[in-house]
């Protein structure tokens, strides 16, 4: 994932183009939070260097707990810490956090409605060379189905930082999906994240792209490309996948005939699934889901993988062109 080359079509943030991995922003935000609140504790399962919780560990060793390679135990221990009045952040790779420990998250964290924050890194195919075993493309689906769970997928470093502070002030289980690779800043400098509030860059008259995570950047590029074809495609950053911002969604669908969802995730059960479920019941409309279709990832560079799985700006633009003409 390189620097942004296309204009967003909106007022660009001053620091646009500054690329930072959301996991790095998480590491910094945890440090800030740790300084601010003494009840914050952090858990990791032997991946603190990669998830960037290692920074917190270094600054606050007495409030950091490495559980070793044991994700299920990590979730249980985080739950216990929350019962003792702490604010636990538990981190590992998305595939292990949501997959290996799913039943612990269901039974202990969600059923008992505990104030546990699950912040996973290395989501999607942009994990890269490690291949399918390490590329979570099902995690949003796995978390979204759980009662009491809030699911957030930040688009860039700026949003990630805000998300971490926002969820610290919110009671209840939260899953935050972060990535390994650098992503350009896409959110405006004056943007304020609020749980459950999507950010519309603009609402298009011909099509609207509902995107999450790194796909927001691709969606903005796609919107720019489509302008050259005389197509007005709007972009909405649906960073909170659960609860979905249905107000914005209705606005987007009422403004045009075509909605396209964009996610670095399986089109089943993730953002495309969530949007389709809502619209099917409330405002039947054509929804075109871009994302990974019934497949596993594989090894390659992030850039190669995005291309291979149809997750580029080109792919989104092509989907819209084909739908309109």
């Amino acid at each position: 994932m390189g620097e942004r080359t296309h204009k967003t079509g909106q007022e660009k943030p001053e620091s646009a183009g500054k690329a930072v991995a959301t996991r790095d922003a998480y590491g910094e935000a945890l440090l800030e939070l740790g300084r601010k609140r003494s009840d914050v504790v952090v858990l990791d399962a032997d991946l603190s260097g990669s998830t960037k919780t290692g920074k917190f560990a270094k600054a606050f060793p007495e409030r950091f707990f490495n559980l070793g390679v044991s994700e299920q135990d990590m979730i249980g221990t985080a739950s216990g810490l929350s019962l003792a009045g702490k604010l636990p952040f538990a981190s590992t790779f998305a595939v292990f956090e949501t997959g290996r420990a799913w039943e612990q998250i269901r039974q202990t964290v969600c059923y008992s409605n505990l104030n546990v924050k699950l912040v996973a890194t290395h989501s999607g195919v942009t994990v890269g060379e490690d291949g399918a075993s390490h590329q979570a493309i099902e995690d949003v689906a796995l978390m979204r189905v759980l009662h009491n769970m809030t699911v957030i997928v930040p688009a860039d470093g700026n949003e990630t930082r805000q998300v971490i502070h926002a969820i610290a002030e919110h009671y209840g289980p939260v899953y935050v999906r972060l990535g390994r690779s650098k992503v350009p800043q896409v959110m405006p400098d004056d943007y304020t994240f609020r749980i459950g509030k999507a950010y519309p860059f603009h609402i298009g008259k011909d099509a609207n792209i509902i995107a999450m995570g790194i796909m927001v950047s691709a969606a903005l590029d796609a919107s720019e490309m489509l302008k050259e074809n005389g197509i007005d495609a709007g972009v909405v950053n649906m960073s909170t996948v659960k609860p979905l911002d249905t107000e914005i969604l209705l606005k987007a669908v009422e403004a045009c005939g075509i909605l396209v969802t964009a996610e670095e995730h399986s089109v089943t059960g993730g953002l495309g699934g969530a949007v389709s479920e809502f619209l099917a019941e409330n405002h039947p409309a054509k929804v075109l889901r871009t994302g990974i279709r019934d497949d596993f990832g594989c090894s390659g560079t992030p850039r190669e993988l995005l291309k291979l799985y149809g997750l580029t700006a080109e792919d989104i633009a092509k989907t819209i062109r084909e739908a309109l003409f």
């Binding site: 504790v41 007495e62 409030r63 707990f65 559980l67 070793g68 044991s70 299920q72 135990d73 979730i75 249980g76 221990t77 985080a78 739950s79 216990g80 810490l81 929350s82 019962l83 003792a84 009045g85 702490k86 636990p88 039943e103 612990q104 039974q107 202990t108 059923y111 008992s112 409605n113």
Partner: protein, 277 residues
Amino acid sequence: MKAAVDKPDVSLLKEKARQLRVEILKMLAEAKSGHTGGSLSSADIVAALFFYKMRHKPNDPKWSKRDRFILSKGHAAPVLYAALALSGYFDPSLLKTLRKIGSPLQGHPCSTKLPGVEISTGSLGQGLSIANGIALGLKLDGSGSRVYCLLGDGETQEGQVWEAAMTAAHYKLDNLCAFIDNNGLQIDGHCCDVMHIEPIVNKWEAFGWNVIDIDGHNMKAVVGALNDAETVKGKPTMIVARTVKGKGVSFFEGKVEYHGLAPSSEELEMALKELGK
């Protein structure tokens, strides 16, 4: 408040265990389903905890200085409900609603529905990790509260139990004391036939725990082990309680079929007679 007292009144605790068994059988017969064997086998342990060792306030379930009890073997919910009711957390008449629609007494404990239940359990293998987390949190706060956790023996076939076993020893959680209700039976039969769990004591010792091996129906031994556990520094304690499934009712004792079977009304009548009520 049920304050921990220096000298346990063993005969009173035995009477409490008998009362727990009576309530367990009555509520299960009324519910017509539930786990009889493993509730009865852990009654003496739970009596010693709730009526002797644990500091807790039934009228203030979230009292910050309380000791915590995690029922990792959540299917033994009846013994927990009976202990909560007899402690005064709620009116014992509520026990009749066990497993019924709208009742806070769910088939397996639910912390959001019933005050006094620290955490929802029922899916085996998760309680010890939770107990560890509480113990870590209490240590961070410099709290003197202790954490108790009750596991089933079949439950230790879950891998997470051993992850948690490592964690408790690694973090030197001497404010944690766990029990294994070693009644030797699980749903499909004898543990030794389904999946060997012995040698239990050696395993937990090898994982870095202080292990106390006792007769789980000898009240003096149970309270003695609880008191000994409190004096151990730098290690968590596992009390391996050798018990009999269905203990207290002759025709349930050692019967694998009563793992998940409730007494009929005739069986209840005979059982209560045996228990002297």
